[in-house]
Symmetry: C2
Subunit: 356 residues, 2 copies
């Protein structure tokens, strides 16, 4: 197949977005798009290129004092009758337009057209972000080639509709368990009802006041929610166990250990078991490249409430934020689309920030 | 097969108990025992005998002013390595000894040896009590031949260890449902958590004070128990529905409609749906045959807390109670047994009551 990412296409991030969208790349099937991306990066003489699986890394080696990362995933969720792309007025429709080939196009466009950025830049186009983290290209690079990820600041081009979403909240799942003693319900007083006992757990959830925490101007709103409850043996048996599944979303000033400790305090007197957990990420907007990036975009950052790969950069000690042209509420939708204006704005902003 | 229920066997209720136990009769496999029972009843000239499936009915037609029923089921739960019967000291071991061939033996012994009772007597030996009620012989007779069940009073020879257990409590299952609105747990404040909302349902269960009701000297202790709880969509979703399954055991002074009304009051403000229900049975100890029966036994009646076929008689307007030689706590156990002394006591008591 001739590479559709020709020089004519690469100079226009809008045309490039469409070209990338039209290379189907559902998770675990990214070889074609990675080949095309690697090919054009290798043709740019100012970049040094490496590959791991279907993840492609390219970087400048200009000896600048600081290095920044521009990163985007190449994969999409399954196609949903929305390929090839179409254009209606100012909108490009198609699988991956918002999440996140519009963002990938910005990075690839800069990579090949800006040979002398003011910082050294590492471009990372990675595989399998939309599925289980064992396949995540960013994760695999962190394990196999951690040096590829050395940097002072990272921009993840996930859809934010042109806003800056900094850091992210952590998430923790716990099971809170009550125990009782079985009995026949005709003689219920001989037993101890574990479901009745869970009333106190729900009472604490109802009366819980979640914190609101502001860090570097970003406001994080925590939350504690029952997400599952189960218990019961039979219609005529006083139940001896009830389990309440609880999800805590916690601001990035708490570590996972602190979050777990907090939940043990909230549910003191009950059996609390952590079943899953992912750390948050501090916004980390103090570094010079971050401050200049904020100035270039010209709007105040907001807190990212959901969990994104920003947290993987944070775990490596690299401040990171989300910034991309797509509308996050359209991600994974059949009518997914991206505004051409947002792509042009994004390209101009990144150029303003990185140009010498 | 020669009928093991010979005249020599029929005159001794202890020997008769063993003979009945040794005719295996697991539910839905009662033809052999029903044939033997029908055969000996037909040989007794003072009885008029009818059969429906494997249920055998025999009655006197002496023109007495009142008629009583003695009833017992012929089936047992599955054999559990406990046949044929064995005797150790004063105990007969084997499947069905307690539940309830000891009781059946009392009725069958009286049927063939007492030609002139002071009341007309209807003896009912019925099939499939231990399984789903669609197979229950008493139920089938009530539908097909309701006249067979005309009587002023009934004694069900279920195991009570020689006590009188009168009436029975009703039971009702309801689903109490809370509703909310889904949201991502990272933005939990946009949703309404239906599991948190169930906290109020559990609070009402915790603080509920069940009634204790005394009727005809029998004390019924009600109970309200959560028996099941379920809710939850996914680990990151505020759930929009939670269902608490609740079992009410209610004294027989409430009808099913009144019990349902009571539950709607207890859970006012929530969606309450009745999913299953069976009425209780008043002890009904006012009728002359009942009063004379109590005098013959010579002990105070106690309330039956579980549900038994007594309620089926009550539904037909016939006061009924449980009275049998077996120990109810041994029913369905592998080491099921019956005390020989309790069989002899029971036979003497019934004779004292029914002899002219």
């Amino acid at each position: 197949m001739a590479n559709p990412l020709t020089p004519d296409v690469l100079v226009d991030p809008v045309v490039l977005t469409r070209a990338l969208v039209d290379i189907e790349s559902v998770s675990r099937d990214e070889k074609a798009i990675a080949d095309c991306v690697e090919d054009v990066l290798r043709k740019a003489g100012h970049l040094s290129v490496r590959r791991l699986g279907n993840t492609v890394m390219a970087r400048t080696r200009l000896g600048r004092g600081q290095r920044v990362i521009l990163a985007g995933h190449l994969d999409t969720v399954p196609v949903n009758g929305n390929l090839p792309s179409t254009v209606v007025d100012d909108l490009i429709y198609g699988c991956g337009t918002a999440d996140m080939k519009g963002g990938v196009a910005l990075a690839l466009h800069l990579a090949v057209t800006l040979p002398d950025p003011q910082y050294d830049v590492t471009y990372l186009f990675y595989e399998s972000e939309e599925i289980d983290s064992e396949f995540n290209g960013l994760n695999l690079v962190a394990e196999e080639h951690p040096k590829w990820l050395r940097a002072d600041f990272a921009v993840l081009l996930e859809p934010t509709f042109g806003a800056i979403e900094a850091g992210c909240q952590g998430t923790m799942q716990v099971d809170v368990r009550t125990r009782g003693r079985r009995a026949h319900t005709a003689r219920a007083w001989r037993g101890v009802n574990a479901i009745h006992g869970a009333g106190e757990v729900l009472r604490r959830l109802e009366t819980y006041h979640p914190r609101t925490v502001t860090i570097d101007g970003c406001t994080y709103r925590e939350g504690l929610s029952a997400v599952r409850i189960s218990g019961g043996v039979a219609g005529n048996v006083v139940p001896d166990e009830c389990v309440v599944g609880v999800n805590l979303r916690f601001a990035p000033d708490r570590s996972e250990a602190q979050a777990a400790e907090h939940l043990r305090e909230v549910f003191q007197g009950f059996d609390v078991e952590v079943t899953d957990s992912a750390p948050g990420a501090l916004p980390g907007l103090d570094a010079a490249p971050a401050r200049e990036f904020l100035a270039a975009v010209g709007i105040e950052p907001a807190a990212k409430l959901g969990w994104t790969d920003v947290a993987r950069f944070a775990a490596l000690g690299i401040p990171a934020l989300n910034y991309g042209p797509g509308d996050p509420s359209l991600a994974h939708a059949a009518d997914e689309h991206v505004e051409i204006g947002k792509i042009r704005d994004g390209a101009a902003t990144l150029y303003r920030w990185l140009a010498p």
